[in-house]
């Protein structure tokens, strides 16, 4: 497979081949497809011909059916050979997908309703975005913090469920695309430069929240894989660029607002006055508000209460709500930015 040909544009049937697996999967698919076409055309042609040739005519009786054991045995066992080939090639290609190379770059993936969180070996985390180097194997070690999800990248032909209570894993190698050139000054590594992007879907049904915003249900549990040149990726991972809001680096409240939707808080918390009730309390005018808790005590909402509620969401639940808020991981800086933002509501 040294001289691998990639089809980088979508065909009528399949998306572009952007991982090293894709050509092999597509080859098996095409094999099955053409065999199927041959059988389908044969069956339909025979049916149409017999329909025409033996249509009912006056005075012509049907002939009694004989039997033909040789013919029966032939069409029972001949297709078996083709089936064995499909099985064999399908399994062989799968074994490649099942065993990641030892030198793969490991990323932890945590799925939750309704967002993907990625953690690099050096502790950098990303939400709904994953930077990876082109031309190097990447292994994903996946878990889920609530229900079943499934990590699917059509362009890579990979898919695997994220199952709560267990780890599953998956690997891929994004190709170096000759048909697109990364923009900018290629002699300088640039942490922000993305070569190309791949869409990640969730394909195991995981429900929907009451509202419909960014990342508020199975159907928008999207993420993107941002493929970089290896040197750009190296730069990204050692020197991650500050978060950007539009064309300038974010101010803390702006970053907080970005995190609020990236981390999926919008699914359960409204922020406008008088907005319809979702699964969690409305956060409008949060700070300084008096709230009755489930244990009957009353608190005045302050910095400490907010931080505690984010870090340990099920400890102090407001009366009238179920303890359903997930544990969402934040770095210190992220938490600061988020709290600054919440103060502005």
């Amino acid at each position: 497979m040294d001289e691998q040909e990639y089809i980088t544009h979508p065909t009528t049937q399949l998306p572009p081949q952007l991982s090293t697996f894709a050509p092999e999967v597509d080859w098996v698919y095409d094999f099955i497809f053409w065999i199927s076409v041959v059988f389908f055309v044969g069956i339909v042609a025979a049916t149409l011909y017999f329909m025409w040739a033996y249509r009912r005519r006056p005075g012509v009786k049907s002939e009694p059916t004989g039997h033909h054991n040789a013919l029966e045995l032939f069409w029972t066992f001949a297709p078996l050979i083709l089936l064995v080939l499909m099985f064999h090639w399908g399994f062989q290609a799968y074994m490649v997908q099942a065993n990641a190379p030892d030198d793969a770059y490991n990323v932890r993936v945590r799925a939750r309703q309704w967002a993907w969180e990625f953690e690099h070996p050096n502790g950098i985390t990303e939400d709904n975005e994953l930077h990876v180097p082109a031309g190097q194997p990447v292994r994903l070690i996946m878990s889920s913090s609530d229900v079943l999800h499934s990590f699917y990248v059509p362009d890579y032909r990979i898919k695997r469920d994220a199952v709560p209570g267990m780890f599953t894993s998956l690997w891929f190698e994004a190709i170096e695309r000759t048909d697109v050139t990364p923009e900018g000054d290629l002699s300088q590594p640039d942490a922000r430069r993305v070569w190309y992007r791949n869409q990640v879907f969730c394909t195991e049904y995981c429900g929907a929240g009451g509202s419909w915003g960014d990342n508020a249900g199975h159907a928008t549990m999207y993420a993107q894989i941002l493929v970089q040149r290896p040197e750009d990726f190296q730069e990204f991972i050692t020197n991650p660029p500050p978060p950007m809001c539009g064309d300038h680096p974010c101010t803390p409240p702006e970053w907080g607002e970005q995190l609020f939707s990236q981390k999926g808080c919008t699914a359960c918390h409204a922020r406008e006055e008088g907005a319809p009730q979702l699964a969690g309390p409305n956060l409008h005018g949060l700070f300084g508000r008096q709230e009755r808790l489930q244990d009957g005590t009353t608190v005045t909402i302050d910095d400490a209460y907010v931080r505690h509620s984010i870090l340990e969401p099920r400890a102090q639940v407001v009366e009238g709500f179920n303890p359903v808020m997930p544990n969402i991981r934040f770095s210190e800086q992220q938490l600061d930015a988020l709290v600054t933002y919440l103060q502005t509501l």
């Binding site: 979508p10 009528t12 049937q13 399949l14 092999e24 999967v25 098996v28 698919y29 099955i32 199927s36 389908f40 069956i43 049916t47 017999f50 329909m51 033996y54 249509r55 006056p58 009786k61 049907s62 002939e63 009694p64 059916t65 039997h67 033909h68 029966e72 069409w75 029972t76 297709p79 089936l83 499909m86 099985f87 090639w89 399908g90 399994f91 290609a93 799968y94 997908q97 099942a98 609530d146 229900v147 079943l148 499934s150 699917y152 898919k159 695997r160 469920d161 709560p164 267990m166 879907f201 195991e204 049904y205 995981c206 429900g207 929907a208 929240g209 419909w212 508020a216 199975h218 159907a219």
Partner: protein, 568 residues
């Protein structure tokens, strides 16, 4: 009426008109509600499953209309999730599983066996009421808060969602009993009540297939019952069987669930094959080629059905070796399925083929089931399944099998046996128009979904990326054509009931046994126990006048003319 093909009665027909037919034998609501007549029970099931089909169809149109455009079109995401769950659950548990066996099977199995009734008529009535009771539970779940888990009820989502999962699963649990009881009843009937001379090699293929279906129903349904019971207990008592937060295993649920639901796929398709064998034989006036191979392939499918459940779980985190074994076993299922298709096609060869509406559905079944079967191959192959699993490709595949296969079989059977069941003819021209719309609409709707899926569009999505819009729009457009086809068909049947011409006993000139009694049959089916002297498809042994000798064109005109005369 001299047609005696296949069955001879020991005495002559002097008293052929002594008994009233089963529709008029007794009157009043009680005489139906308390009936033990398998034919009336069959008709009650028919009404029930058609109602379910209508409800499931309405939910399908809600789903398709929402998907016309990205973003919100007509309903909110929660309602959408409930709509596709109810569509799937109603179609599977309330419509397709009982459709052919319980409605057509109940009516025709005893007739085909030359029996007066099924082996346990009271049990038969009980299973109908159990069905109704289960349906009421499912309806109750709709009016309370519906269910948004998908018809598969996968844990742990199903143990956490706030919707009426318990009511719906209890409904499915109860429906399972109805299914088991019907199966037991049919098995006993086939073993014990065959007419003298009707040995196993003379059984109509319909009977062989329904028999195989019954075996699966009896063996597999209890597993579903236990699974659903465990799920209910898990929700009500938080036991920790499936919920990982309590130490349970969510994948275990999938094994349990598919151990039933994969065989259930054969509970759905074998009856469709049963009907099609009858249609092909009757309308090509020829015994099904390779009769014994076709019969045995039903039995083979019934057995293999139990060995392949985990092909629904290739990406669920099973070991590579489990994946390998289940992929290999899955391919074996292709063999008996292909054998059937080859034999049906070969039956046309040297036949005398006519193209009345039931046959159109029979021929369409062959084509659509072939597409459904062949598109199953990339799903059985591990590495291509990884790409296609849980995308619209799968939605297209199972609709080709379940709608293109079973529903087309069911509707073909309904057209075929309608004159026998009601004693009325229907307007053949309208039937053919409805067929053309249904066939076109179906293909536009679902062929498109193969392309959507292979391009990566996941299923159960309320919203989607703009790139998928053209194909989604096309598919929804097809579903409206399909809907119009069904409405015309409904109208045609209603018209037939109200003013259809009276049907002769054997309008198609069939040599099969059930046509040897009057249309509609008398309450006890036959005046005397028939003695069977040959197989159901031995057209070469029937004399010319024993068979209906018309031609499709002139038949279309005669039927239409009669209907119009009645109207005018």
């Amino acid at each position: 009426m001299t047609a005696q093909a296949g069955a001879t009665h020991p005495t002559s027909h002097d008293h052929a008109h002594d008994d009233a037919d089963y529709l008029r034998a007794t009157r009043g609501f009680r005489s139906w509600a308390m009936t033990l007549d398998h034919k009336r029970i069959g008709i009650m099931y028919l009404v029930a499953v058609l109602t379910a089909f209508l409800a499931g169809g309405i939910f399908a149109l809600i789903v398709r209309t929402e998907l016309l455009w990205p973003g919100r079109t007509i309903v909110d995401p929660d309602t959408y999730n409930k709509a596709f769950t109810l569509h799937g659950a109603i179609m599977v548990f309330l419509f397709i599983i009982p459709s052919i066996p319980a409605a057509l099977g109940n009516f025709f199995l005893p007739l085909m066996l030359g029996a007066k009734d099924v082996a346990f008529p009271r049990l038969n009535l009980a299973s109908f009421y159990i069905y109704v009771f289960g349906a009421i539970f499912a309806l109750f779940s709709i009016v309370t808060s519906a269910v948004d888990t998908g018809w598969t009820f996968y844990t742990p989502y199903s143990t956490q969602t706030g919707t009426a999962v318990i009511a719906m699963t209890l409904g499915a649990f109860i429906l399972g009993f109805s299914s088991i009881l019907t199966g037991v009843n049919f098995i006993a009937t086939v073993h014990k009540l065959r007419a003298p001379g009707l040995h196993w090699k003379r059984l109509p293929l319909f009977v062989w297939s329904i028999y195989a279906t019954s075996v699966i129903q009896v063996l597999a349904t209890p597993v579903l019952a236990i699974t659903l019971l465990l799920l209910i207990m898990e929700r009500a008592l938080t036991l920790g069987i499936f919920d990982p937060r309590l130490g349970g295993d969510p994948v275990l649920f999938q094994h349990f669930f598919w151990f039933y639901s994969h065989p259930a796929v054969y509970i759905m398709i074998l009856p469709g094959m049963a009907v099609v064998s009858e249609l092909i034989a009757t309308f090509s006036r020829r015994k099904i080629f390779g009769y014994m191979f076709v019969a045995m392939s039903s039995v083979a499918l019934a057995l293999l059905a139990f060995l392949v459940w985990a092909h629904h779980m290739f990406v669920a985190g099973m070991s590579e070796y489990a994946v390998m074994v289940f992929s290999g076993l899955t391919f074996l299922v292709a063999i008996p399925s292909a054998v059937k298709v080859f034999n049906w096609v070969a039956t046309l060869y040297k036949g005398s083929v006519s193209f009345e509406s039931p046959m159109l559905y029979g021929l369409a079944f062959i084509v659509l089931f072939t597409v459904g079967g062949l598109t199953g191959l990339p799903l059985a192959t591990i590495v291509t399944d990884v790409h296609l699993h849980d995308t619209y490709y799968v939605v297209a595949h199972f609709h080709y099998v379940m709608v293109g296969g079973t529903v087309f079989g069911f509707i073909g059977g309904l057209h075929y046996w309608w004159p026998k069941m009601t004693g009325k003819l229907y307007n053949e021209r309208l039937a053919q128009i409805a067929f053309a719309l249904v066939f076109t609409g179906f293909n536009v709707t679902f062929f498109t979904q193969f392309l959507l899926g292979s391009h990566g569009m996941p299923r159960r999505y309320y919203d989607y990326l703009d790139q998928y819009q053209p194909l989604h729009g096309f598919s929804s457009f097809g579903s409206y054509i399909l809907g119009v086809g069904f409405v015309i068909m409904l109208w045609m049947f209603v018209q037939s009931l109200m003013r259809g011409a009276k049907s002769p006993p054997n309008p198609w000139g069939s040599a099969a046994f059930e046509w040897q009694t009057s249309s509609p049959p008398i309450a006890h089916n036959f005046h005397e126990t028939p003695i069977v002297t040959r197989g159901p498809y031995d057209y070469h042994l029937a004399t010319e006048e024993e068979l209906y000798t018309g031609f499709p064109e002139d038949r279309v005109e005669r039927v239409t003319a009669k209907t119009e005369k009645e109207e005018g």
